[in-house]
């Protein structure tokens, strides 16, 4: 289940951005710990002291609901199979992110979008980009 959770550093950044949703666990001294009573964790004093550990899904949902930023992790098939993989793009719900309201994570090649080999890599990059977009608002 650990693949579900945002790592410590981004979890800390989310807390700094005001992420305040109930989570399944939290980070204490960089170590992940499950909440014993996650359904009531809003009232838990631990929740106030340490950065909570959202799942990637919770984090993406929060960016969608609070910041109006939608994110998509899609698959791109390229002519060469070794160039196929996951791509990430964003749209603004209330305010377009650009003229086409389509902002991908770009690569450094002529092919445009960056292609991630694994979904976990794409998820982490997606989260980091969302954090960057909100910080730069």
């Amino acid at each position: 289940m650990d693949k579900e959770f945002v790592p410590y550093e981004p979890a800390l950044e989310l807390k700094e951005l005001g992420f305040d949703e109930p989570c399944f666990g939290y980070y204490k001294n960089d170590h992940f710990t499950f909440f014993v009573d996650m359904l009531n964790c809003n009232s838990n004093s631990v929740f106030r002291l340490y950065p909570t550990a959202p799942t990637f899904s919770q984090a993406f949902r929060w960016f969608d609901e609070v910041h109006g930023l939608t994110s998509t992790i899609d698959w791109m098939t390229r002519t060469q199979p070794s160039h196929s993989g996951y791509i990430v793009y964003f749209r603004g719900k209330n305010n377009p992110l650009n003229d086409e309201n389509f902002l991908p994570i770009y690569g450094d090649t002529l092919h445009g979008m960056y292609v991630f080999k694994t979904r976990p890599e794409a998820e982490l990059a997606c989260l980091k980009k969302l954090i960057e977009i909100v910080k730069n608002k």
């Binding site: 996650m38 359904l39 939608t70 899609d74």
Partner: protein
């Protein structure tokens, strides 16, 4: 957090498809399909009690066990609308796309990501059941 969890009916269907991954909770049918935190192996042997995965866990399971990649995505139709595709990662081809049509006459979109996620999960279950 309840938006994270697969509803009871779909959790039961996943159980019937032999989903058996560690989960954050489970559904007890003895109390009207109530979500219970934690894990209780005793009750999970009872028909109509089921583990409660998150949508993310369920999608990951379909990806790893059946090579089916669930792709909820957004379409910019003036306003943002939510849709989904399902791709076979082995062939890299789509096996289902909920968005149909183009221009002013399109269908298959949803107003919220939650609706798209649930529809996507139901479609994955249907695809695997029909295999």
């Amino acid at each position: 957090m309840d938006k994270e969890f697969v509803p009871y009916e779909e959790a039961l269907e996943l159980k019937h498809l032999l989903f058996n991954e560690p989960c954050f909770g489970w559904y007890s049918n003895m109390e009207g399909n109530v979500f219970r935190q934690g894990y209780c192996e005793t009750y999970l042997g009872i028909e109509n009690c089921a583990k409660a995965p998150t949508f993310s866990q369920a999608f990951r399971w379909f990806r790893e066990k059946y090579n089916l990649h669930a792709e909820p995505y957004t379409a910019n139709m003036g306003a943002i609308e939510y849709c989904f595709q399902i791709r076979d990662l082995y062939s890299e081809k789509y096996v289902y796309d909920n968005f149909v049509g183009a221009g002013a006459s399109y269908s298959g979109t949803f107003n919220t990501p939650e609706e798209a996620e649930l529809a996507c999960l139901r479609k994955l279950i249907e695809i695997v059941k029909n295999k």
